[in-house]
């Protein structure tokens, strides 16, 4: 009962937009002084491609375990924000983790447990690797890295611009929601039926709040579009020299190589171990 009560209050109260906003900011920029953030984005992207793809094609438990531990360490090093980790845990659990738990408790034999564990490890490794790269790197470095590999300028600009406006949008969204709270008249929620109604009411309010948010954003973006034109955004997109200047900030250092070497060594060790075992 207590849980239910919490759930119905949570949407607008505890789990406030303000909280979300700080988490997003923390995630994007709060960890720019970590080991991971200092790495060259191109190196990290290659590393990510390996960690994100290879585990899907390998069923060796040793190898998967090693990959998982490796990404666990990098996630720790990247100092990822709490909310993202929570979402990760919930995500993995609802995908496959619960099956693993169920089969453990209800007499699944060793082979089912192992095959489920393998699946869980694959999902977990892949997601943690993404978390490391996408939240460990600041969006700008990430977009520069992507551009180096030939992603269109628009995509990389959008990534960094999204992070620029997101806090603003969330602040605005919060204020619109607060308007609804100040003037709205939510259903009583003492009884169970009332609580369900209240939950629906809150969801409805959130949906209604999108309309003013969109209009306000449209109004703001008028200035932004003009400012981008003045600042030469369109010129840069077709100018090769600009790209070159942007890439000149990227540099592969000793640390990057060390990072690759350590990862490589660790994975090779696991392969070695599995052949010996």
């Amino acid at each position: 009962m207590k849980m239910k009560k919490k759930l119905s209050e949570n949407i607008l109260d505890k789990f406030s937009i303000d909280f979300l906003r700080t988490q997003v900011l923390k995630n994007a920029y709060g960890n720019d002084d970590t080991v991971i953030a200092a790495l060259d984005p191109r190196i990290l992207i290659v590393w990510y491609l390996f960690m994100g793809l290879v585990p899907w094609f390998v069923n060796n438990l040793w190898f998967l375990m090693a990959c998982f531990i490796l990404v666990l360490v990098t996630t720790k090093l990247a100092r990822v924000a709490g909310l993202v980790l929570l979402l990760f845990v919930i995500g993995v659990f609802t995908q496959t983790g619960y099956l693993l738990v169920v089969s453990l408790f209800f007499g699944g034999n060793a082979s089912t447990v192992v095959s489920l564990l393998i699946l869980t490890l694959k999902v977990a490794t892949c997601s943690l690797a993404s978390i490391t790269v996408f939240s460990g790197l600041d969006p700008d470095r990430l977009s520069n890295g992507l551009m180096w590999y030939g992603c269109p300028e628009r995509l990389s600009f959008s990534i960094s611009y999204a992070y620029r406006v997101l806090p603003m949008l969330m602040g605005e969204f919060q204020n619109i929601l607060l308007s609804f709270r100040m003037r709205g008249n939510p259903p009583e929620h003492e009884t169970f039926a009332g609580k369900v109604k209240y939950l629906f009411y809150q969801v409805k309010v959130i949906m209604h709040a999108f309309y003013p948010l969109m209009l306000n954003t449209a109004k703001r973006s008028r200035t932004t579009v003009e400012a981008l034109e003045i600042k030469g955004y369109r010129y840069a997109a077709v100018n090769k020299a600009v790209k070159k200047m942007k890439f000149s900030t990227l540099k592969v250092t000793y640390n990057d190589l060390l990072f690759l070497a350590v990862s490589f060594l660790w994975i090779s060790l696991s392969v070695l171990a599995s052949t010996l075992a």
């Binding site: 960094s160 709270r181 008249n185 309309y211 200047m245």
Partner: protein, 564 residues
């Protein structure tokens, strides 16, 4: 040498038949500091956008005549080339900033135009705009004034000879406003930039600008040296522009025959000192102070503490054990610099924020356990940004909403009443966002008092408005005194404070540093200086003539300073 030459410029926006700029001819000399003034909607912003090529290259429309900027005809060059000639800072400058960190944003344009030394240019621009040391900060760590300086730095980095600013200080407290203008003055005097500002604050024009250009219905009425321009009191007032209070005072004396016509009207306090030298101060009859009986408190802050989570490091403490009492029927002005905690205080009262520690009592009951929705009949908050209060697609629906969902019987009549009271009946089917600044404010006030709350909180009701609209809102607020019981206004607008408030609460770094009547606040030099609040200009004038003088309006000044 003329840096800007405009000949027979006529322009109308696409899909509009009426030209917004009509037959404009203008020369601006290199190194000028020009203020552009005029009514809302007279084409000031449009005019400025023709200078950097946004019109006609980005915003099309019917364009006739020619605009030459530093020898370049804007029709024949592109926006990129012109951006290096004329920099532009918008009124809603925060939307102009597109990069997450300070140095990045300042050098972004230079990078886009493939300038090899873009980082140095960014740094140079930041130091010109006194933002050194903030290079690696993120945008949201800056205050409002610093954000504006950054927008300016973004324009300065391209090293344009002309800088155009659209209402640079509309949202800023006086100390930040001074900083912006001092930076502009330095750019103008030391670096020879030509500066054009759209400005309503005539005191700033008098202090900083060299020329003034008045626009009327899309054409230029005149361009004159600042002194001469500001002395045209009648003409300015007919265009809803309010000359400096010192000038207005002298002008009124002239009309009353107390001031010889040969003398020129003063435009600054400095000039006023010599002109008004012969005036004597007469102490006003001490009016009876209202008996300070035991007044009933409606809101009490008891040791309230609150902190915001921050992205990095420690949480930012806004209030640390704040105590404040608000009594029934009071008209309170809440003042203090940007970021002193004014908005937070108001959000706490309506229950939108919960205090980390301590308690807030509303009518003797703690609001800690109460839902915001249930407080709204007693207390109501009108945001600084009216757009965020429009949650329906017409202002009629917006005003009715709170009453409608509470099934108030005659909500339709009351909505119509409110629409009429705030002069909005003709606009009732329009979306609030599409109204003009003053109309938006009025609509948001109507929404705020729809439920007839005992306590009304207004966050910066006059920010971002031109002075005519500001006066109109001030009138509305004075009219509202009868219908609302307790009102609290958070504001930087000291004229509003002096003319409207009965009690002034000064916040500084999360503490109430002063609390009292206007004489008790503005009479204390230490407070005025440490907190960075600024009484109206006429108050300074009075003080400069006689230390004991405390006059807040031109009327009071004229009453108390006499020839004998």
């Amino acid at each position: 040498m003329n840096i800007i030459e405009i000949e027979n410029l006529t322009y109308s926006y696409p899909a509009s038949k009426k030209p917004i700029l009509k037959n404009i001819n203008l020369q601006v000399e290199k190194g000028d500091f020009l203020a552009v003034i005029g009514n809302n909607g007279c084409g000031k912003s449009t005019f400025c956008k023709t200078l950097n090529g946004l019109i006609p290259h980005f915003i099309t429309g019917d364009f006739e005549g020619s605009v030459t900027v530093d020898g370049l005809n804007t029709l024949e060059s592109d926006v990129g080339t012109l951006a290096c000639k004329a920099g532009y800072v918008y009124q809603d400058f925060e939307n102009q900033i597109v990069r997450p960190t300070v140095l990045d944003d300042a050098s972004y344009a230079c990078l886009n135009y493939a300038m090899e030394d873009y980082k140095e240019r960014g740094r140079e621009a930041l130091s010109l705009c006194s933002l050194e040391g903030r290079e690696d900060d993120y945008i949201w760590q800056l205050s409002g004034g610093q954000t504006h300086l950054l927008a300016l730095a973004g324009a300065v980095s391209l090293r344009p000879d002309i800088l155009i600013l659209d209402e640079p200080i509309a949202q800023l407290d006086p100390s930040h406003a001074d900083r912006i203008y001092n930076v502009l003055r330095e750019l103008n005097e030391k670096h020879g930039k030509t500066i054009i500002v759209i400005e309503h604050h005539t005191e700033y024009i008098a202090d900083y600008c060299k020329h003034v250009m008045l626009m009327k219905d899309g054409s230029i009425a005149w361009k004159l040296p600042t002194d001469e321009a500001l002395r045209r009191v009648d003409e300015l007032q007919s265009c809803n522009i309010f000359p400096p209070q010192v000038t207005v005072a002298a002008h009124r004396m002239e009309q009353e025959g107390r001031f010889s016509k040969e003398q020129t009207l003063p435009t600054t306090v400095e000039e006023g000192k010599t002109v008004f030298k012969s005036l004597r101060y007469h102490l006003p009859f001490p009016c009876k102070k209202p008996a300070k009986g035991k007044r009933e408190p409606v809101v009490e802050f008891k040791d309230v503490s609150i902190a915001y989570r921050s992205v990095k490091g420690e949480d930012r403490v806004i209030f640390d054990r704040l105590n404040l009492e608000i009594h029934r029927g009071e008209k309170i002005a809440l003042i203090g610099s940007n970021g002193a905690g004014k908005s937070t205080l108001m959000k706490l009262m309506v229950g939108l924020l919960k205090p980390g520690d301590g308690d807030i009592m509303l009518d003797g009951e703690s609001i800690r356990r109460k839902k915001t929705e249930s407080l709204s009949k007693k207390i109501s908050l009108v945001y600084q940004n009216p757009e965020e209060m429009f949650i329906k697609d017409s202002i009629q629906a917006d005003i009715a909403y709170a009453m409608q969902v509470r099934n108030i019987d005659n909500y339709k009549e009351r909505t119509n009443e409110l629409l009429a009271r705030f002069n909005l009946t003709e606009l009732k089917n329009r979306d609030g966002r599409l109204l003009s600044g003053g109309q938006m404010r009025r609509a948001s006030l109507a929404i705020g008092i729809a439920l007839n709350p005992g306590i009304l909180l207004l966050d910066e009701p006059t920010a971002n408005l031109d002075i005519a609209t500001r006066k109109e809102i001030m009138r509305t607020l004075n009219d509202m005194k009868e219908v609302t019981e307790t009102v609290m206004i958070a504001t930087h607008d000291m004229q509003l404070v002096c003319e409207w408030a009965e009690r002034i609460v000064v916040l500084c770094q999360g503490k109430v540093v002063a609390d009292g009547t206007r004489d008790e606040i503005f009479g204390r030099r230490d407070i005025v200086e440490t907190v960075g609040i600024r009484p109206p200009e006429i108050f300074y004038m009075g003080q400069a003539l006689n230390k004991k003088a405390l006059c807040y309006t031109v009327d009071e000044f004229l009453e108390r300073f006499k020839e004998v």
